[in-house]
């Protein structure tokens, strides 16, 4: 029934402050989460919350884009917009996961990579490009959930996965509806119109073959019934780990390559 929601309503839903964040879900999805920090080169970026945990007894690496639940938390994690050191931390831990043959579970929730002076000085473009390249060939299963906002290259960096899921009210777009409207019509206030035009909902991405499955949200709202979504996410992780861990590495990588190779028109 929420299928009738307009794209703009979903944008607003995805950005709700009381909508659960990675911080709220991790304790329920996993056991014994142990946070790992830093890129070993520059610093620790709180916009990426990462660490080790058990998923029903199986060790996994968790890489989550992390928005805050209040101003203080948001100041610390730059409203979930990662700097290059955030992506480099994710890459470091992905390689570590590969070394110890641990599957990776990613959560995407960001308006985009941080657009700032320091981010550019430290190579935001290089960090995202390298993430895309690394995750396309990492030799362990990668499962990604787009939780709320999937904004641009900053979200894509953690989306190169064997399974890509999107929550029903999440959005995923090339840039924010505001940015889109501002470039297209030089008028940020037409964001609502842009959202409808952009085809950025989970249903749009599913139709285009980018997303494998939509994780349904309860009618009373994700924020009012977290466990509904958590159960669904756990079911997918359980099934995927069981299926993907059985695959030969070469098959896993070939399937992942094909999945991303086949997006868009062919010539």
């Amino acid at each position: 029934m929420t299928l009738k929601n307009s794209a703009w309503q979903r944008v607003l839903n995805a950005r709700k402050t009381d909508r659960p964040k990675a911080l709220d879900l991790i304790p329920y999805l996993f056991d014994e989460f142990f946070e790992l920090s830093g890129d070993r080169a520059y610093g620790d970026d709180k916009a990426i919350l990462s660490g080790l945990a058990f998923f029903e007894g199986i060790p996994v690496t968790v890489l989550a884009q992390s928005k805050g639940r209040n101003l203080e938390e948001n100041m610390a994690c730059h409203f979930g917009m990662a700097h290059p050191e955030g992506y480099r931390k994710a890459m470091r831990l992905a390689k570590q996961a590969e070394k110890f043959n641990r599957p990776i579970v990613c959560i995407v929730d960001t308006a985009g990579a941080f657009p700032g002076k320091g981010a550019e000085e430290r190579g935001q473009a290089e960090a995202i490009a390298s993430s895309l390249k690394l995750f396309s060939s990492i030799k362990v299963p990668v499962i990604t959930f787009v939780l709320s906002e999937g904004g641009s290259g900053g979200a894509l960096a953690l989306s190169v996965a064997d399974r890509l899921y999107m929550l029903e009210n999440a959005i995923y777009s090339i840039l924010s509806p505001e940015g889109f409207a501002s470039i297209l019509w030089k008028d940020e206030s037409r964001a609502q119109e842009a959202a409808e035009l952009m085809e950025c909902t989970a249903y749009d991405l599913y139709a285009k073959g980018i997303v494998d499955k939509i994780i349904m949200e309860p009618t009373e709202g994700f924020e009012n019934n977290k466990s509904f979504v958590i159960t669904a996410m756990k079911n997918e992780i359980r099934n995927d780990l069981s299926a993907l861990r059985k695959l030969k590495t070469s098959t896993l990588l070939d399937q992942r390559y094909k999945k991303f190779r086949d997006i868009g028109v062919k010539i």
């Binding site: 941080f114 002076k117 550019e120 190579g123 490009a129 895309l132 060939s137 028109v265």
Partner: protein, 289 residues
């Protein structure tokens, strides 16, 4: 001493050779047109002067965006460029408002089918897989066709063991194709990962401008990354950053020289030296061609 003399002579010859390739009829017709303003130093330059200097500002060395045809003339051995996937174009790819009109307009004004031209060419006798982006074509933006052409070229380079050279010039992913444009970033990066694993040599040449989704995918993934002087290279747009930071950014921000200083590119190479540089770099790698 002697070798230095010969080196200089060789360079002079190269410059003269490049100059002889420029279409002289074009020069005659363009020489009396209104001068262009250099966007970097604001000096007026006659179109004639600009042509003679390989579209480089004689005053400040700013490298103007170059059309594909001029680039091919400057960079590869005469008549060696064989275009691949020329017929691929974004016409009728979706019905985004005004998009179709925009494509046709770009095609008419540039004579190109898309923002990237791909093919096989020879550089001083060495066969390479070559992609050249053209910023005049909808800002050189990457839509599905651009991503697909580049991916196909990477796969050809991989199969045939050709060195891969991509000259980027792009504002980023193509907005009108939405999310499918964004995923061209992961598509090209995945293809490069395979090429890399198989030992392929990829030289990325960043030209003015290389930003957004193109800089954050294949452009930054070269084994060697070269930039033309004073090119704008970065991820986020200057205005967006200024708005976020609430401060003015220095003039040199996101320019080639800035990226060299910060350690994100290997070298800045003047347009007149680009062919020799690429040719030498290919020789320094054990890639059969």
């Amino acid at each position: 001493m002697n070798t230095q003399f010969y080196k200089r002579k060789e360079r002079l010859n190269l410059f003269q050779k490049l100059f002889t390739k420029i279409d002289k009829t074009d020069l005659k017709t363009t020489q009396d047109l209104t001068p262009l303003m250099c966007p970097s130093c604001n000096t007026p330059i006659s179109q004639y002067d600009l042509k003679v200097h390989l579209s480089v500002c004689p005053n400040c060395n700013f490298h103007f965006s170059l059309g594909v045809q001029e680039r091919i003339a400057q960079l590869v051995d005469e008549k060696s460029f064989k275009e691949l996937y020329r017929s691929a174009k974004s016409n009728k790819i979706n019905d985004f408002p005004e998009y179709q009109k925009k494509i046709v307009k770009a095609q008419d004004s540039t004579g190109l089918h898309e923002a990237v031209t791909t093919g096989i060419a020879e550089i001083n006798g060495k066969t390479v897989a070559l992609a050249i982006m053209d910023a005049r074509f909808i800002m050189g933006s990457m839509g599905q066709i651009v991503g697909e052409k580049i991916t196909r070229l990477i796969e050809v380079a991989d199969k045939k063991k050709y060195p891969l050279i991509i000259l980027s010039a792009s504002g980023g992913a193509r907005m009108q194709e939405g999310i499918l444009s964004l995923f061209q970033m992961s598509k090209t990066a995945s293809a490069l990962a395979r090429f890399d694993e198989h030992g392929g040599l990829y030289i990325s040449v960043l030209t003015h401008p290389t930003t957004g989704g193109v800089s954050a995918s294949f452009a930054m993934l070269g084994d060697i990354i070269i930039a033309e002087p004073k090119a704008l290279i970065g991820f986020a747009g200057r205005r967006v950053i200024e708005k976020t930071m609430n401060e003015q950014l220095p003039e040199a921000f996101q320019k080639s020289e800035f990226l060299l200083e910060k350690g994100f590119i290997d070298a800045i190479v003047h347009r007149k030296d680009l062919k020799t540089t690429l040719s030498n770099l290919i020789l320094m790698h054990k890639v059969s061609s």
